[in-house]
């Protein structure tokens, strides 16, 4: 319960059913402060569902376990504690989720909303100090020059970095990222991962990042948690994640995850497998 608890995030026996499908099946994990951990798994394995529960956007089943954030219970037994759940975990999304018509600076200032007096936030009256902090956050992620632009005018990589600046302003001790780089090209993906790693290292912020490409997990995170069918099937050093081991874990679905070893620098095309799938589906339709 004290502030120096070494455990930043703990999930205990969390389950979630959507109708017949078990999206989460007794998931337990524990993250230490300042750790950067990768969360991998094929699509539909429950990565996003787990992240949405930790972020306080979904509530687990009534008979299920609990989520604790810095020692405070954010949800337990299907009940949410809003105070503990929201604002204390910063979230980065696959599609950046900036408000496109607002300026980049305003998008970053939104990170203050949970921390400043409510009336001031509601009226959008951010003070000089808060604006300076937002500007500094943009400088830290390497895009200070775009502050006045509309967020929609930015490239994908820049938008994701602006979203990271928003979480910096939020001053949360825990940052979770839901496939932050799967909508980006390789060079933009690397820059975003570099920024995340720097934040984790310099500010001792706990980062949980779900990834589609195992190569990035190996490169940026010492520890990887792997999910399949809503359950954790591996939790250990990333170095142990050889392609053979992944094939053993995921069978045919591992193709979705495994990339050629040179992936981050080579001409990696993460969309290739699904693209092929789409193509064959179209041909199937045409022949019907």
């Amino acid at each position: 319960m004290t502030e120096i608890t070494p455990i930043a995030l703990s999930v205990t026996n969390l389950s979630k059913r959507y109708g017949e499908t078990r999206a989460l099946n007794g998931v337990s994990l524990m993250l230490e402060q300042g750790e950067m951990v990768a969360l991998i798994g094929a699509s539909g394995s429950g990565k996003s569902t787990l992240i949405r529960h930790i972020a306080g956007l979904e509530i687990g089943d009534g008979d299920s376990g609990r989520v604790e954030i810095l020692g405070a219970v954010s949800q337990a037994g299907g009940r949410m504690n809003r105070e503990a759940a929201r604002g204390r975990v910063a979230v980065i999304f696959q599609q950046f989720n900036l408000v496109g018509r607002l300026s980049v600076l305003t998008n970053v200032l939104i990170g203050h909303l949970g921390r400043i007096p409510r009336w001031r936030g509601t009226l959008g009256l951010f003070n000089r100090h808060e604006k300076d902090k937002a500007q500094a956050a943009l400088a830290r992620v390497g895009i200070p020059q775009v502050a006045a632009q509309r967020a929609s005018t930015l490239s994908g990589g820049q938008q994701q970095r602006a979203a990271i600046a928003r979480t910096l302003v939020q001053e949360a001790r825990i940052l979770i990222a839901d496939e932050p780089i799967s909508a980006l090209d390789p060079s933009a993906a690397r820059r975003v991962m570099d920024v995340l790693a720097a934040i984790s290292r310099e500010d001792a912020i706990t980062v949980l990042v779900s990834l589609h490409q195992v190569e990035y997990a190996r490169r940026y995170c010492r520890r990887t948690i792997a999910m399949r069918d809503g359950a954790i099937v591996y939790d250990g050093p990333s170095t142990a994640l050889s392609n053979d081991f992944l094939a053993e874990l995921y069978g045919a679905a591992s193709e979705e995850l495994v990339l050629p070893d040179a992936a981050p620098s080579g001409p990696a095309d993460p969309m290739a497998p699904s693209g092929v799938e789409l193509h064959t589906r179209q041909t199937a339709l045409a022949t019907v």
């Binding site: 956007l57 604002g87 204390r88 979230v91 989720n97 408000v99 018509r101 909303l113 949970g114």
Partner: protein
């Protein structure tokens, strides 16, 4: 797409023709039925709508000609007073629309299913249905009784009716937003109201402005009619001159109305371009 082109282009595509034969047969039955119902409804309405009097259009053609002739000689002698009343009409529409926009913001959000729980949504929606179902003229009659003859009754009538329309249009825009930015704002610990202000409003603003400007245009048209029941503006003098058989004056007033509505149309288009 390519399949469609192939099936229409290739005459020898045998397998494609069999479903194409079945479909027209079924839709042909349906269109016959629709036509039958339509003809039936028209026939039943012939008597009550007094369509039988169509011959009067020709037997009284002389009257029509003199009527039209008077309209062909618009009399702008009183143009200053027409213009003054036209401006009053615009002012009625402006205030009616402004008040409606103000109220449509909360009502529009509260009647969007992705924003409000059902026990708020349904009462608000039914109230808006009521506002929308009753015509401005009827509201104007009611408000003339309540607040007396004059422009204010017109403002209130437009206000209530337009709120019903705009709240519905606003809520449809809210229902079409991208929920993901709102979710991101929620994770920062922002309140519900803050989520709406920073996440929802920026997304719907261009549409809301567009809808509001369109309603302003139509309210200027409506406001000219409100004069009929004594709710002020140019409509009042228009109907006075028609009732008094001052057709050249009525013609001048109509021309002023047409010019104003056209002008407003152009103006609001420019405004829309400016804000979006």
């Amino acid at each position: 797409m390519t399949d469609v082109i192939a099936s229409t282009g290739a005459t020898h595509a045998r397998p494609m023709t069999s479903p194409a034969v079945v479909k027209p047969a079924r839709s042909g039955m349906r269109s016959w039925l629709v036509a039958l119902v339509l003809v039936g409804a028209l026939a039943a309405s012939w008597g009550p709508a007094e369509i039988g009097r169509w011959t009067y259009l020709f037997s009284d053609a002389g009257n029509m000609a003199t009527y039209a002739q008077d309209f062909l000689k618009p009399d702008f002698k009183e143009w200053a007073s027409y213009l003054r009343e036209m401006i009053v009409t615009i002012q009625i529409a402006l205030w009616g629309t402004f008040l409606a926009v103000l109220l449509s913001i909360p009502f529009g959000i509260l009647s969007a299913h992705n924003m409000a729980p059902w026990w708020v949504l349904h009462p608000v929606r039914r109230l808006m249905d009521l506002f929308r179902a009753i015509h401005e003229i009827v509201f104007a009659v009611l408000f003339v009784v309540a607040v007396g003859l004059g422009p204010f009754a017109g403002v209130m009538a437009l206000f209530v009716h337009t709120t019903g329309i705009l709240a519905k249009l606003f809520s449809e825009a809210v229902e079409a937003i991208d929920p993901r930015p709102v979710e991101a704002i929620r994770t920062t610990g922002a309140s519900r109201l803050q989520q709406v202000i920073f996440g929802v409003i920026p997304q719907v603003l261009p549409l809301w402005i567009s809808f509001s400007l369109y309603r302003l245009e139509s309210n200027i048209r409506s406001a000219t009619v409100l004069g009929l029941i004594g709710a002020g503006g140019i409509g009042q003098i228009l109907f006075e001159s028609i009732r008094g058989f001052y057709y050249p004056q009525a013609s001048a007033i109509l021309l002023i109305i047409v010019a104003t509505v056209t002008l407003m149309d152009i103006l609001s288009q420019q405004l829309r371009k400016l804000v979006i």
